[in-house]
Symmetry: C2
């Protein structure tokens, strides 16, 4: 094999390892791999009310409209906390700072619900949903509408109260790892 | 004023500057200030079809369900590109890497549409929507459902093709600034 062909093969191999395309049929694994590249803030979503207290870790949260102030949270219908959130119809999005990775793990794993809330300091604002005292920002919300899409419900939430800190760095999940934001 | 009172006042002032609460009536400005703390990936959303080619910068994108593979994009109904996206019913979410801040500015500002696409290298995958060659990840989608919430439409999009790079860092918008992700 001459040097030129060898070099071309090496370039093709390098290209294979750095670019990946899936066209036509995107399966669950491809989709998850692609989504791992969409960096997102890490949030602990909480609720309390007639159906009891619950909380889980989520990155599928985003701003929708500022009039009226509305955000959305995606919730898997097969999640153990699903019925609690659907009954209570209130929730708080607690966005974690770069030092709160342990809370993400506690609320994202198999820890029993009572033990989850033993971590962190909690209070309430307007609804009964637990507000994490030192979250980067907390959005205390009422669920006003929901839409079922595939395996998930998308909960549209009107923001009734906000509590925020300044001068903290954000916790971000990217490439299946925790990161922090670094100014450019 | 004695030293103790002076110290207490200083502590109160410090607390005021680091924690901010808005309870009951959350106005647009409070909501936007709170949302500035929700770190998010930066994406250039593109379309092409009967209504022509268009693109804009958006951070309100998130994963919804992996079966079928679905994401959502929030689009302001008063945006100049709104009708183009609604007519074409296809879009590509191009997630930017940490070196692509200039593309975010070009697609997020007042640059005429033709001049926007003069920046970057573009191709297509399955739909006609422009795919940015060196995006961190691109999701080529068909819009399958939309819901109007306040000022925005939430577009639910089935992912038909994915193209991704490995080993690039993400561009993140946080605290009204561009950041990059830094491993912890």
């Amino acid at each position: 094999m001459n040097a030129k062909i060898s070099q071309q093969l090496a370039q093709q191999l390098e290209r294979c390892s750095t670019i990946n395309e899936d066209v036509g049929h995107v399966d669950q694994q491809m989709f998850r791999q692609g989504m791992s590249k969409l960096a997102a803030a890490v949030n602990v979503i909480t609720t309390d009310g007639h159906a009891g207290k619950a909380g889980f870790t989520a990155s599928a949260v985003c701003s929708v409209s500022d009039s009226p102030p509305t955000l959305l949270v995606c919730l898997n219908r097969s999640a153990s906390v699903y019925e609690t959130f659907k009954t209570n119809q209130v929730l708080c999005v607690n966005t974690l700072n770069a030092q709160q990775q342990h809370l993400s793990n506690v609320f994202g794993g198999k820890t029993p619900m009572s033990a989850r809330f033993a971590e962190g300091k909690w209070r309430t604002l307007l609804t009964q949903a637990p507000v994490l005292e030192d979250a980067l920002v907390s959005f205390d919300c009422r669920v006003v509408q929901s839409v079922s899409i595939g395996s998930h419900d998308v909960l549209f939430c009107q923001v009734k109260a906000i509590r925020q800190q300044s001068e903290e760095n954000a916790l971000v999940y990217f490439n299946r790892s925790y990161c922090e934001t670094q100014s450019m």
